[in-house]
Symmetry: C2
């Protein structure tokens, strides 16, 4: 592994996603102008674009065309961006800072933020309906189903609901895991799988290995998030730090402590890497992303 | 036209949609239970199911299989139901009554209502990805795009944004029309078109006629809604009456007055019926629906 090589791979793809998101988001001069400006504010800028990167890396397993994967990655990123806007609303986490900027309802207003999230979700599915992403359109309908299931009540939105119910409770590690497999994990798994679907079909056993990797790395992502939330200053994080503890939300840090959480993340990373053995060199970028996700400092 | 015949046609389809929605909504015993119970509360019950009826009637133009149209109709109804839940939120219309029952955020709580709407939108697209609705999957991807565009910032969500900006302003009739073509019209047009897409393809000229009908009837629907909001007691309406005037929202009644609004709705109905001439007897149900929409009392 060559860190400089990974960084240039990732940077090129982050730029490509940024350009594509800018293109597919409605222009701010289109009616309703304020909504479109707010949608762009919510999406464009300083995101790490971890989910699109996972889609690109998943696509390398199946020789997927990079333009097609970019569209799938953009769709996932729009879902992710909508979830952040809604999570930050006063009735949810009531947060004022996101990616170092005022949250959408602070910069605009609360009803606009609600509509921004709603419209970004629609736009994600519009991309999957509008552009050709696979050889066989049957496979593309599978992608629609996959992203919808990962976003809905048995996926990300369901994870948020479990999160709401957990405030003030003491959760066990399996209960925490259930929450995060929905809340963060579902979309991360969908990212890698959607990328792979854009290429030649993977065998079922290969898809299962990829899914297993993505599930482990999705969980690791959340464990690291909890550690960073507990340890980092707000300026580094780009969002308000220490809010979980303040809100009495159970986290890996509150359940396991910082040291054990870090060890758990490292264990997950190693298990995730093992799930990729079957792919050989095709999985180079997935391996590097696993390292990036677990070893990141923000 | 035979009113009893139309009523039995509509009643059979309303029952079918209700059964289907009950089946596709996650069971309340599935985690997260409270979210699933709230999603069912938001969708099942006393809706008029106008949009699915339009899908069924559109499907009769193209000989569509009724089970396929039901799924398309259910998808549109889920989008409609999500929009009502979000519209009723305190930061939007802050309404406490819907279809004669407490609104979702009153019966449950505000964050749950937010997630209910989010998850219902995902579920709508999941249906379009999961079930076979057309002979050619290419056409089904077109349906995904159509529903997404009708729901998003250039459709329904965009109409809500225009609505927000219009509070306290005096709008002209064309400005009102622009708002409603987005807010209500986009989804009503999508309903009829999605139904037609489930059968053998219509010619482009036929699709244009159907779209023209649906656009006119969507507008008529809104004009009638404004009249009913101004004239009906809350008990008949099933939602809080007179709220538009109270909120200083421009409506057809506030701009044109009641008598001229009624005449406008009747004009729209006649124009809409004329757009169906090309279809002959295949358009019987669409004609009856136009009458139902304009002449309804609730």
């Amino acid at each position: 592994m060559n860190p400089a090589d990974f960084q240039s791979w990732a940077a090129a793809r982050q730029t490509r996603i940024e350009t594509l998101l800018d293109k597919v988001l409605p222009a701010p001069r289109l009616v309703p102008e304020r909504l479109h400006a707010a949608m762009r504010y919510a999406v464009l800028g300083r995101g790490k674009r971890v989910r699109p990167l996972l889609a690109f890396a998943g696509g390398e397993l199946s020789g997927a065309d990079i333009e097609r994967v970019a569209l799938a990655g953009a769709a996932v990123e729009l879902i992710h961006a909508y979830s952040l806007v809604h999570d930050d609303l006063p009735c949810m986490d009531d947060d004022v800072l996101r990616r170092g900027k005022p949250t959408v309802h602070v910069e605009y207003d609360e009803p606009t933020a609600l509509l921004v999230g709603d419209a970004l979700q629609s736009l994600a599915f519009q991309l999957l309906g509008e552009y050709r992403l696979t050889e066989h359109t049957d496979d593309q309908l599978q992608m629609v189903k996959l992203l919808a299931a990962a976003s809905g009540s048995r996926g990300m939105a369901g994870g948020q609901a479990i999160d709401l119910e957990s405030v003030g409770k003491k959760l066990s590690v399996p209960e925490l895991e259930l929450m995060h497999i929905h809340k963060t994990g579902a979309l991360i798994r969908a990212s890698a799988l959607l990328g792979a679907h854009c290429g030649h079909g993977l065998a079922d056993a290969e898809l299962a290995q990829l899914d297993s990797f993505a599930k482990l790395i999705g969980l690791a992502f959340q464990v690291v998030d909890d550690v960073l939330d507990a340890e980092s200053p707000t300026a580094t994080l780009g969002k308000t730090a220490g809010k979980d503890a303040e809100r009495d939300k159970p986290t890996y840090v509150s359940v396991l402590g910082v040291a054990e959480s870090k060890a758990f993340a490292e264990q997950l990373r190693q298990d995730a890497l093992r799930a990729l053995d079957t792919f050989g060199t095709r999985a180079l970028r997935l391996r590097e992303l696993a390292d990036f996700i677990v070893l990141r400092k923000f």
